[in-house]
């Protein structure tokens, strides 16, 4: 009988916790179908099945933590399923094959979402669902429910996706919420502690003059419908990716005491979530894709990161990361490298500065770019050239 096992989603991942089963014994599963929501050391991830058949038994219960590679469910190829079920998995199960019941004008919601909404006194009617067919899932309740402090924020996270906007998906009780928030904080703390303990960061900052680049962008957007417009962050991703191609010391992973440069450039884009915390979807091969393509990719993954529709298969290890805290944010950002990556670029908000040009003073649009890099893998001279390479790329947007 085939098995669905706890997936490994990167060298960092050692174990994962089942937060919710989407299937129950007897359910049909297809290759690629989402079968469970997992909490891993990095993120919440919707796990896909690599098997096709019928769920025979769930071997890991909701709330249980198991090591990577542990069998989580058995899948049989014929329809007859055994009656074995993980006892507390069934009540929270839902099938992604079928829309949740919506009889009598009832709002679509998973049983777990209903229960939490009831416990918290939240009206389902006030919530928009991000699940299949607009069904309200647990994350929607969490996101719309009790305001929470940003338990996870401003931390350079991994290149792993997560499925929802809520950093605090949990089993539904108040105590569970605290445990969940505290545990996630611990996970982030551990990763960042490891980064600062193991990675000798060095930092380089430069100011990039963007006046003509922004004028180009404005002009480029004039004739475009909204669906085809370019946003400045897409230019940033392209500039970083194009420059990274020439600086393999800053692009790749530090593994087993040595730098392993990457031939490909996969940019991890740090996305802030309004419910607190961050997700870092990966923009694959950003160096070799056209700018319009990168813009589409960026808009797609950022939108889905926030509306809870990212999947594990859409992600892969980033080879470096990019963080920016928004158009109204701070001027300078010093990132924390997420191991095993070896660099992270921080971009502040574009702002105006008075600059001298010859004998004249004028207002210019300025972007402060900061590189945090691993001194084991690269030196300041390379880092400096990388940063200046990004500036050069941005100065020539037509050729991005």
């Amino acid at each position: 009988m085939a098995e669905i096992r706890m997936p490994s989603l990167g060298a960092e991942m050692e174990e994962g916790t089942v937060l919710e089963w989407y299937v129950k014994p007897g359910d049909r599963v297809e290759h690629g179908q989402l079968v469970a929501l997992l909490d891993t050391e990095k993120a919440e991830i919707e796990m896909e099945s690599f098997e096709t058949g019928w769920i025979d038994a769930l071997l890991v219960q909701t709330g249980e933590t198991v090591a990577v590679g542990t069998p989580m469910a058995t899948v049989r190829s014929e329809a007859k399923a055994s009656a074995v079920a993980a006892s507390d998995a069934s009540p929270t199960s839902k099938s992604h094959d079928e829309p949740p019941p919506a009889t009598g004008g009832r709002v679509r919601a998973t049983p777990l979402a209903r229960r939490i909404a009831r416990e918290r006194g939240i009206a389902l009617e006030s919530i928009s669902g991000s699940g299949p067919n607009g069904a309200i899932v647990e994350a929607d309740i969490m996101a719309a429910g009790t305001p929470e402090p940003a338990v996870i924020s401003d931390v350079a996270n991994s290149s792993k996706e997560m499925s929802t906007a809520s950093p605090s998906r949990r089993s539904g009780t108040a105590a569970g919420q605290l445990d969940r928030a505290a545990r996630r904080r611990q996970v982030i703390a551990a990763a960042m502690e490891r980064s600062k303990r193991e990675i000798p960061h060095y930092y380089l900052t430069t100011s990039i003059e963007l006046t003509s680049t922004l004028a180009w962008l404005e002009k480029a957007n004039l004739g475009r419908p909204i669906s085809k417009r370019l946003l400045f962050p897409a230019l940033l991703v392209k500039a970083v990716a194009n420059a990274a191609r020439r600086f393999p010391q800053l692009n790749g992973h530090w593994i087993d005491g040595a730098h392993q440069p990457s031939d490909a450039v996969h940019v991890g884009m740090v996305v802030s979530l309004r419910t607190g915390g961050i997700v870092v979807p990966t923009l694959r091969d950003a160096d070799s894709r056209p700018l319009d393509d990168v813009m589409g990719q960026l808009q797609d993954v950022v939108t889905r990161a926030r509306t809870g529709r990212l999947r594990s298969a859409e992600l892969s290890d980033a080879t470096l990361a990019l963080t920016s805290l928004g158009e109204d944010g701070v001027e300078t950002i010093y990132g924390v490298i997420y191991p095993p990556q070896v660099s992270i670029l921080g971009f502040g908000a574009i702002h105006s500065e008075v600059r001298a040009e010859g004998d004249l003073l004028g207002t210019r649009s300025i972007l402060r770019a900061t590189l945090a890099a691993d001194h084991r893998a690269s030196d300041g001279q390379e880092g400096s050239r990388f940063l200046m390479g990004i500036a050069r790329q941005l100065a020539d947007p037509e050729n991005l």
């Binding site: 006030s126 919530i127 928009s128 669902g129 991000s130 929607d140 996101a143 719309a144 906007a165 809520s166 404005e218 957007n221 004039l222 419908p225 909204i226 669906s227 417009r229 946003l231 400045f232 962050p233 802030s272 979530l273 309004r274 419910t275 960026l298 808009q299 950022v302 939108t303 926030r306 509306t307 809870g308 928004g326 158009e327 109204d328």
Partner: protein
């Protein structure tokens, strides 16, 4: 008549405001209606970024038929400003 709004439902501000709420909550399902006071700054107060803003503008184009130019989009920072802008720019259907 040479100028009318594209959809009947956009003919009054209340209906239009409802559409805007729906569009914004589609883009930001973590927000609720209560977050969207007319003068709340979508970017500064609610944390919507340029991609969210572009998605809302795209929704306006699809639902109402109004393509907000990029230079205007970046200056429309709250529900009231969006509403006023749409009312000031009826979509010609001739």
């Amino acid at each position: 008549m040479t100028k009318t709004t594209k959809m009947p439902e956009t003919q009054n501000a209340d209906a239009l405001r409802e559409i805007l709420y729906e569009l914004i909550l589609d883009v930001a399902p973590d927000l609720t209606r209560d977050d969207l006071a007319p003068d709340v700054d979508l970017r500064y107060d609610l944390g919507l970024d340029s991609i969210d803003s572009l998605n809302i503008a795209n929704g306006i184009a699809e639902r109402i038929g109004l393509e907000i130019p990029e230079i205007d989009r970046t200056s429309l920072r709250n529900v009231q400003a969006l509403l006023d802008y749409i009312l000031e720019h009826p979509v010609a259907t001739t």
